[in-house]
Every structure is written in structure tokens, then in C-alpha cells.
């Protein structure tokens, strides 16, 4: 029982990332009808927002500390971050420590701006072109974004730790009545899951309970009629692209402490997120979320020793296998609607 619970928990953090990226992909697909191969790159840029903010906050100048000496007996040069100078050493250290959560605030405007720029500058011109062209141009865009990040940040992963407070693990087993040390789980991953749930809930609430969201949903169902009613649906869809970019970016920001960001992390996630979207059903938001968590948990179960000894390497292929089976058995995916991408 506790082993099963542990695997489910293990699957949740990856599943959260899949679900968030797939949610953004589906938002873009459902509103604009564009297959966005650059979505993984947006996830990656989000993670690098965290890296950038951390670097900005840790910008330092050198002071000579008279109280300490190095092994030669000379006064030691100490790097002093500017934030520590401005806000005092303790608050400064705390700010640097909390750079990843702060990056959430930093990344939202950045990602929305990037999303607007991409939609207005590029994707707008591809609505009338075939899906293959949309795939190709966003694939090119992904390469470009990835290479720009590589140029500025290098090819190596950059460690971006979470605040010290969340660095350790929590013994969840104790809380729900199992033996101590049966289910020990890194706290940041729990926070990631909670955060993902919050974002997903937020997006759904936004679409469900606001007038703006209602118009967007109407536009998803029948764009032409909504346009004929005198509503500028294009502008709303552009905003939705910005929101989808922000969702991917936030997923990236919070993922930075779990895996040190490198420039091709987006591509690695993109392939799986596409599989997730297709399994969930193209254009179905609940389907994307459901499939994201399901496949994440499935992957973590397939990675157990029991599974890998029974069928060697099952953890590597299980997601693709499931995707193939689902597509053949239920071509529209788990929760796909009729008439989406049927041409």
C-alpha cells in the first residue's frame, strides 16, 4: 500500500509538468487551431527566467573583509551581492534564497510578452496555412529560441536551488498513519504539485466563471459565429496565447529546482507533452490534464524495480506504447470531441 502511494506521488511531479505543458498546448490548439511545436521552448524559457532572476539577484561587488584572512594571512576578498548592500545582509540572503518563487512574479509578464510577440509576429500569418506548415514554422522557432538561450547561458545545466526551507524531505507516511520513513518525499515536489493544481484550477476557473472565458469558450466552439456577433475574437485568442505561454513558463520556473535547466529541456518535454495531448484528446482541456497525470503516474509505476525486472526497459517505452494503443483504440483520445482535427 505505502509503495503504491509512493509511486503515485513520484508520478505526480512529472505528471504535473506534463499536465501544465499539455494544458498550454491544448489552449493554443483549441483557440487558435495551431499546433505549437515551440511550446517546449516556452517551458524552457520559463526555467531560464528563474536562472536569470537568480543571477540578477546575486550580482555582486567585491569588498575586503578585514575580519577574515586567507591562508597567506591577507585580508579575504568577499563577494557582496547588491541586494545585501541595499536591504541589509539578512534580508538580502533571504531574497537570493527565494529567487525561484520570486521568479514566478518575474516570469508572468515576460512570458505573456513573449507569447504576444510570437502570436502577433509569426503565428498570426499561419492560420490559413496547412497544419504541416504550422508545425514546421514553430519547430524552426523552437530551434531558434533554444539556440539563443544556449548562446547566452551555455550548454551546461545551471543548478537553481529551491529556498532552503523546502530543500529537505517530508515524511508523508507519518502524517497519514504509515510507519516512519515509509514514504519520504522531497518537499519541493509536493509544492510543485500543489502549484500545478492551483494553476490548472485557475485556468479552468478563468475560462468557466468569467465573461472573458465564456467568450473564449464560445470562440473555441464556433469562431466564425462569435466573430459575426461583433466580438473581436482574434484579440481574445491572442491573450489566450499569452496565458498559455505563461502557463508553460510557470511550469518551467517551478521545475528549475527539480532538474537544473539546460537549453534542450524543452524539446525533451515537448515530445512527451504532445503524446499527452493526443492521448487526452486534441482540443480537450480536461483530457490534457487527466492524461498528463495518468501518464506521469504510469511512468513512475513502470520505473519500479518490479516492473523493470519483469519487462526490461518498460519505463522507457510505456508512454509511447500507451499512446499508440489509445490512438488505435480511441482515435480521438480519452476525452476528444468529434470534429476536432478530423480533416
Amino acid at each position: 500500500m505505502d509503495a503504491i502511494l509512493l509511486q503515485i506521488l513520484n508520478g505526480l511531479d512529472k505528471g504535473s509538468a506534463y499536465a501544465l505543458i499539455a494544458l498550454g498546448l491544448t489552449l493554443i490548439f483549441g483557440t487558435l487551431g495551431v499546433v505549437n511545436f515551440a511550446h517546449g521552448a516556452l517551458f524552457m524559457i520559463g526555467a531560464f527566467c528563474a536562472v536569470t532572476l537568480q543571477k540578477l539577484l546575486s550580482l555582486s561587488y567585491v569588498v575586503i573583509d578585514e575580519t577574515k584572512t586567507d591562508f597567506m594571512g591577507n585580508p579575504l576578498k568577499v563577494e557582496m551581492p547588491y541586494v545585501a548592500k541595499w536591504f541589509g545582509p539578512e534580508i538580502g540572503a533571504t531574497i537570493i534564497d527565494w529567487s525561484v518563487p520570486l521568479a514566478i512574479l518575474f516570469s508572468i509578464p515576460v512570458m505573456i510578452a513573449i507569447g504576444f510577440a510570437i502570436e502577433r509576429g509569426l503565428i498570426k500569418y499561419f492560420y490559413r496555412r496547412p497544419h504541416a506548415d504550422q508545425i514546421l514554422v514553430t519547430f524552426g522557432l523552437a530551434i531558434v529560441l533554444q539556440e539563443i538561450v544556449k548562446y547566452y547561458f551555455g550548454a551546461n545545466p545551471i543548478p537553481t536551488p529551491a529556498p532552503d526551507m523546502f530543500a529537505g524531505s517530508i515524511d508523508i507516511g507519518m502524517l497519514v498513519g504509515f510507519d516512519p520513513n515509509a514514504i519520504v518525499y522531497p518537499s519541493w515536489r509536493l509544492i510543485y504539485f500543489a502549484f500545478a493544481a492551483l494553476i490548472i484550477g485557475g485556468v479552468f476557473a478563468f475560462l468557466q466563471f468569467t465573461t472573458f472565458g465564456m467568450v473564449v469558450r464560445a470562440g473555441m466552439a464556433d469562431r466564425e459565429t462569435v466573430g459575426l456577433l461583433g466580438i473581436n475574437i482574434d484579440r481574445r485568442f491572442t491573450i489566450m496565447f499569452g496565458i498559455a505561454a505563461a502557463v508553460a513558463g510557470l511550469a518551467g520556473v517551478m521545475y528549475a529546482p527539480i532538474n537544473s535547466p539546460n537549453y534542450h529541456m524543452g524539446m525533451d518535454f515537448l515530445v512527451l507533452s504532445f503524446v499527452v495531448v493526443v492521448v487526452g484528446g486534441m482540443g480537450s482541456l480536461p483530457g490534457a490534464v487527466l492524461a498528463g497525470f495518468l501518464l506521469g503516474i504510469l511512468e513512475s509505476f513502470a520505473s519500479t524495480t518490479w516492473a523493470t525486472t519483469t519487462i526490461p526497459g518498460i519505463n522507457q517505452v510505456v508512454i509511447y506504447l500507451v499512446a499508440i494503443i489509445v490512438l488505435l483504440a480511441r482515435p480521438r483520445g480519452l476525452m476528444g470531441r468529434k470534429g476536432v482535427m478530423e480533416d
Binding site: L122, H131, I135, L141, V144, Q146, E147, V271, P312, G313
Partner: protein
Amino acid sequence: MLGLNGRDTTVFVIVTVLAIMAPFLLNPFPTESGLAQFNAGYPDLMQRFAIFAIFAIGFNILFGLTGYLSFGHAAFLGVGSYAAVWIFKLFTYNVVPAILFSVVIGAIFALAIGFISLRRSGIYFAILTLAFAQMSYALAYSVLSNPKFNLTNGETGLQVYPGDLQMFHNPERVPDLPHLFGLSMRANYELSVGGWDFNFNAGYYLCAAILLLMFYLSMRIFRSPFGMMLRAIKSNQTRMTYTGLNARPYALAAFVISGMYAGLAGGLMAAVDPLTGAERMQWTASGEVVLMTILGGAGTLIGPILGAGFIKYFENIFSKINDSVLHAWFAALPDGLEDFLVAIIYPFIGKGWHLTLGILFMLVVIFLPGGLVEGGQRIGRLFRSRKTRKGETDEATQSTPAE
């Protein structure tokens, strides 16, 4: 000639001449001169030109004609390579059985994957092929390299070891390397004329000969009734179905043919260098062949060859230019300007060459859906329309070569 019309014969003759003369054409600069770094006439790169051209021609038969965008073609190239290396390991270093076997294996894989993937079209097809390719990659990379059943040798890559069986291999009579009935694939004749060195490499000429054969075959497919059916799938599959034709067998045939081309390319890759690894199957490799075909011009005959040559040339030549080379180029300019120019150009060359490729690719997709071929046609039309400004009918606007 050979069942081709006049225009196609000209194209074919040009490609043949280019392929035969490649060692000269790709080495236009004397070896000692500063421009020698732009020479691409070394065997390794010439072989890659030919092999990737074959790969892209095959991909074009699927994507260019039927419009099915496969994001998993590298899987067939990978299994072709593995098949060829296994022939080397088990039987003989002769490349003929190895290449034939790699084509057969490529066809079998393409049949299996195509049979399932072609149930869906559009984005679903792209993702299904992608999923299959990533699965093959994962299988080759880790699963099939366990000690009990080592088919791929994991991340080390598969290669021929001294203890291998090699049943029909006789090291005394034939070279201890991949060979064509005794002619080693590494055999190289270097011709020095003045300051120039030209390399004539057995491996390259084998690849070039097969490339010509495959190019001829693709021309025949493009011009055949079968090719017409494939184009019908691209332009309007529903209408094709209404006329009483089932599109799936045609699409599957195109998929298998392009899988065989990819398997052949993989076999040749192993033939010129008898080792292989799982990274050949990764989806970035599939993306590369998509880039090549689109960049050159999807649906055109010559486009994939141009695209493959273009990408491989710049990948190997551009990436060698570093900032010291750049500084040497602009050394004549005033220092401030020199640094400024170098700072502007540097992100786009050397290690940043992929950035250039990405931008170029986007520009082509946005402005030139027909790729380099369409670009060339537009320029040609511009010149011709100036000449025939008055009265005469403009021939260039009517003919759409290789489409």
C-alpha cells in the same frame, strides 16, 4: 533517355556530372590558401552529402508527394545501420549483402509502423511516427542492450570486434574493413595538381552511384501513374476516395518506399564507417531530414539533394569558423569596427550555426514554401521576364519543373 522526358534527362545528366566531378567541384581552393577551410572535398563529408541526399530523397517521396509529415524517419535509418553492422559482425565485410539487408529491414519496419500510423493523418500521423521513433530509440539505447540479449550495444554503439564470427570473411584475401568485392571503402586516391589536392574515395563513389540510381528511381516514381495517385492524396484525399480509390495502400506504399530509402542510407552510413549508435534514431535526427527536404524544396525532384548538401556543408564548414578566424577576416578594418562586426556575426557561426539554420528554415517556411528550388525559379523567372517583356508568352510561368 531511359524513359525520362527531355527536361528530366537534363536534370539527371547535371546531377550525374555533379556527383562524378564532386571531388573537383567541392575543392575549389588551393590547399595552402586561407580559403581552404571552405573546401568540402574530403571523403567523409562527400559521403555524408550523398547519404543524406538519399535519405532526403526518400523522405520527399512521402512528404513531398503525399503530404504526410513523418517526424520519425530517423528510426528507419537507425535500424538500417544496425542491420548492416550485424551483417558485418556475423557474415562478411562485403557491403553488398549488408546494404541489401538494411534495405529489407528498413522496409519491414516501415511496413509495420506505416500500417499502424497511416490509420490517422495530419498531426496525429506526425505524433504517431514520432512516438514510434522515440520508442525505437529508447529500445535501442537501453532495452535491447542487456547482457542476455545484446542487439544494439547501448550507448557504446554497435561495432565489429576482433572476436566476432564473420563466417565468410577471409582477412588474407580481402581488406579487413567494409569492402566491395575486395575494394576497400576507405581506398582513397589523392591527386595533387598545382596547389590543389583532390580526393577520389571508393566509399564516396559507391554512395554517389547509389544516389544516382535512387534519384533516377524517384524521378520515375514522380512521373508515374503511381506518383500521380500519391499527389492526389496530398491535394484532396476525400475526393480521391469518392472516385472509388482507396488511398491507404498508396500511402502505405509511399511510406514503405521512403522507409527503404532511409534504411539504405543507414546501411551506406555503416558501410563507409562500420559502427552505429542509437543517437541516429533520435527525433532530432528525424527533424534534420525534415529540415533538409523543406529547405531544398519539398515535392521537387532536386530539392532534397540541394537541401541535404546545403545543411551538411554548412554544418561542417560553418561550424569550424571561430572568432579568431573572424578576426583574421576583418583584420584590415579599424579595431572598433572589427570588434563590432565580429560581435554581430559571431552568434551565427561556429557553435551557433544552428541558430542560423533555424532562422533560415523559418524564413523558408514563411516566404518560400517551395524551398531553395522555388527561390531559384523566382530568380530565373525575374531574368527571363525581362528578356521576353513584350508579346511573347512566358514559358517559365507555365512550367513548374519537378512538381
